[in-house]
């Protein structure tokens, strides 16, 4: 023990030196900015001069209350963005999880060859640049583009993807003759009518949803594959001996084994989907009719286009809160799993 302490005695300066560059950079460009933005979110800084002088009007919590309690455009936009993002999450997370799981199960099938190739094919989209891939999808979803050409083969006239602001649910309901029922239109909560809340994702948002499902499914498939590798073969064989068919095997043997990974994929999906920004910036900028506006993009736009940095920062922090809560949930689940 004595000698050990002697050897280790000089670690303190080395330890600090080793972490110093990383600590300095993370502190300066993550910790400090968050504190600065917290301050700005309490002011009415308009982007002229420094926000850290006495001249900047202090707004208290106004920028936050405007998002929730004050009647006006700020709340309307924010709630619209929350609605859009909620629908986006509601579609992306289940679809990508199921798709990733399904692909993993098939790729993992021992009877099939070419596992490596298919795994690569499914995984590749997720390593490419989100901006570059958005360009490709913008082209595919053009009105005279590839997607509509495929739909035309089946005799379907494709929608005008990025100019159609109608919500999916509204479209479906209008098929049954329901459009703008006045009890729903005349009442609402948080500045949007019930009818607006119930729009469903717009056609334009659907294009973005399909892009995101397409890029992220591969990553989650690889996670499922890794987990499948760890399912004990004996379990499967035991099930088979018991006379279970393939479906029963999947339901009662394999899926329970994959439960932790599924939870993880779902929570990672929840965290990631609330951060959608790049695709919105490149493909739609919140259009048409604000149906692809998300909190992340709204905060950017409010600050850098409307010069309302306080409101923009406030939106960021609300979004931050949503994501932190989801992250805590994920960490808790992971910890439960580990213990």
């Amino acid at each position: 023990m004595f000698s050990r302490k002697g050897i280790r005695g000089n670690e303190q300066p080395a330890g600090w030196l080793f972490v110093a560059p990383a600590v300095l950079i993370l502190g300066l460009f993550m910790l400090l900015p968050i504190l600065m933005a917290l301050w700005v979110s309490l002011t009415r800084w308009n982007g002229q001069g420094s926000p850290f002088t006495g001249d900047v009007p202090f707004a208290g919590l106004d920028n936050y209350t405007r998002l929730f309690t004050d009647e006006g455009l700020a709340r309307q936009d924010f709630m619209t963005s929350i609605r859009n993002n909620a629908y986006y999450v509601f579609f992306v997370v289940p679809i990508q999880t199921v798709l990733a799981l399904g692909l993993a199960l098939i790729v993992n099938n021992r009877l099939l060859k070419g596992k490596g190739f298919f795994r690569t094919a499914f995984y590749f989209p997720s390593v490419t640049s989100s901006v570059a891939i958005s360009v490709v999808f913008l082209f595919m979803f053009a009105n005279g583009g590839a997607i509509n050409a495929i739909l035309a083969v089946f005799g379907i006239e494709g929608p005008q993807w990025f100019s159609d602001p109608r919500g999916l649910l509204h479209i479906v309901l209008s098929k049954f003759g329901v459009s703008s029922p006045s009890p729903l239109v005349d009442h609402g909560v948080f500045g949007l009518s019930w009818w607006d809340w119930l729009s469903g994702p717009s056609v334009a948002m659907c294009a973005i949803i399909s892009l995101v499902v397409w890029t992220t499914s591969g990553t989650f498939m690889v996670m499922f594959l890794a987990a499948l590798q760890n399912v004990p073969v004996q379990l499967e064989e035991a099930g088979r001996i018991d006379g279970a068919n393939r479906w029963q095997l999947l339901r009662h043997v394999i899926l329970p084994q994959l439960r932790p990974t599924t939870f993880l994929v779902v929570t990672l999906g929840l965290i990631g989907t609330w951060q959608v920004f790049d695709q919105i910036y490149v493909m739609s900028q919140g259009n048409p009719a604000k149906t692809t506006l998300t909190p992340a993009f709204l905060s950017y736009r409010t600050a850098f286009r409307d010069f309302d940095y306080g409101s923009g920062a406030a939106i960021s922090f609300v979004l931050f809160l949503i994501i932190v809560l989801l992250t805590l949930l994920q960490r808790r689940i992971t910890r439960e799993r580990d213990s």
Partner: protein, 411 residues
């Protein structure tokens, strides 16, 4: 205990570092003197296309050589965002385009130098354009040029649809009946931008507008406006008019240039864009069809803004003066089709551009843009409403605008 201490030390270091920062110019006024001698001007423009970029670059280079200064033209892809960040970063370009619709925002936060107030010869500019760049009684900057909306007609498609000059619509009813004939031949009749800057023309033709004449009141939900939007909506619903995105185009001029629509409603800038990108297209330009309350169109203008924080204000103003001489304006007109903003250049312009009669005529009765600070997000929200006009209710769109505008204008 010790770790807490370390954390505190770290925080102290960070704050100290940030306090030493020199990025922000701590006070807006008075810190930047106009220095004389050779300047290094940065000029940010929101170009309507390659033609404009080149023309401004050439003129700038000429001025730089003859005046012994350096000057660089930066064409912005998204001038609002780029300028916004530059202003917040206290590193704005010395000279930049300011759109009349955003002018009040910049002026109200003190980003603009009100150089035009004392500039010699400011009276030579058209009075209604000068008015667009006046904030709280001060003229801030001089208009670069002006343009109005008119109706472009693709003559080949026109003939193909079996139409003659007699079919050129001069009223709303004619616009509808002619469009129906064009549609019957399987051609999209009209491409129109999905924003207030295009659809607003119909409001003027119906005798209304988004805001009152003094720009202080929202007047959205009024019978003329409802009538105008209902008319536009009927065109959209019947497939007689389409938004550019529905035609796979970025703007109506592109759809028109590609021959995807027989008519378009765009401004003077369409000439330059068409001759650059679609040189073979044959078209004529007519005044917009009159509505129930007569003719109406919209006018647009941008000014040469000089940054309040520019280090070279004196040279920047000299540069603006050089860019706005009658000769220079006429030369810009030739390159990218805008109309001069000076009164003394109008006669020559009309002589040189007989084809532009419709644009010039429009200037007589054109309505200028909404000019008030803090309106941008309200107007963006209006645009969102207009994008959904086909399936929405005109009155709802207008009421929503009124509600939002009242907050912005009142506060």
């Amino acid at each position: 205990m010790r770790s807490k201490l370390c954390g505190a030390t770290l925080a102290a270091v960070l704050i100290a570092t940030s306090a030493c920062g020199s990025g922000f110019d701590d006070n807006g006024s008075g810190t930047s003197q106009s220095s004389s001698g050779p300047a290094d001007l940065k000029i940010m423009i929101a170009s309507s296309g390659d033609a404009e970029t080149k023309a401004v670059r050439d003129a700038t280079a000429q001025w730089a050589t003859s005046s012994g200064n350096k000057a660089e033209v930066i064409p912005a892809q998204d001038i609002v965002q780029q300028l916004g960040q530059a202003l917040a970063g206290s590193t704005p370009p010395d000279v930049f385009y300011v759109d009349a619709a955003r002018f009040a925002d910049y002026a109200s936060v003190g980003a603009l130098e009100p150089y035009a107030q004392d500039m010699q010869g400011v009276d030579a500019f058209l009075p209604n354009l000068r008015q667009s760049f006046t904030y709280e009684g001060k003229v801030y900057c001089v208009p670069k040029d002006t343009s109005t909306l008119a109706l472009q007609i693709n003559t080949d498609l026109w003939t193909k649809a079996g139409l003659t000059d007699a079919d050129i619509p001069t009223t709303w009813d004619q616009l509808r009946s002619t469009s129906e004939k064009i549609k019957a031949k399987g051609i999209t009749p009209l491409a129109i931008g999905d924003t207030r800057d295009r659809i607003g023309a119909f409001l003027v033709q119906a005798g209304g507008y988004w805001v009152s004449a003094d720009g202080k009141q929202a007047t959205g939900d009024t019978p003329p406006n409802v009538e105008a939007l209902t008319y536009v909506q009927s065109l959209l619903k019947d497939g007689l008019a389409k938004y550019p995105k529905a035609l796979d185009a970025g703007w109506a001029g592109e759809a028109f240039g590609k021959g995807k629509a027989a008519m378009a409603i765009e401004g003077n800038w369409i000439k330059g864009a068409l001759s650059a990108d679609f040189p073979t297209i044959k078209y004529t330009v007519k005044e917009l069809p009159a509505g129930p309350k007569g003719k109406g169109t919209l006018s647009f203008t941008q000014c040469w803004g000089v940054a309040a924080k520019s280090k070279f204000k004196q040279q920047a103003v000299a540069f603006v003066q050089a860019m706005t001489t009658a000769d220079q304006q006429l030369s810009f007109s030739k390159s990218f089709g805008v109309m001069p903003s000076r009164q003394d250049a109008q006669a020559t312009y009309q002589q040189q551009n007989p084809d532009d009669a419709a644009f010039v005529a429009g200037a007589q009765y054109a309505q200028g843009p909404v000019n008030a600070p803090k309106m941008d997000s309200v107007l963006a929200d209006l645009d969102a409403g207009l994008q959904g006009l086909q399936n929405g209710r005109p009155a709802t769109v207008l009421q929503r605008f009124d509600k939002n505008a009242k907050t912005a204008l009142g506060g």
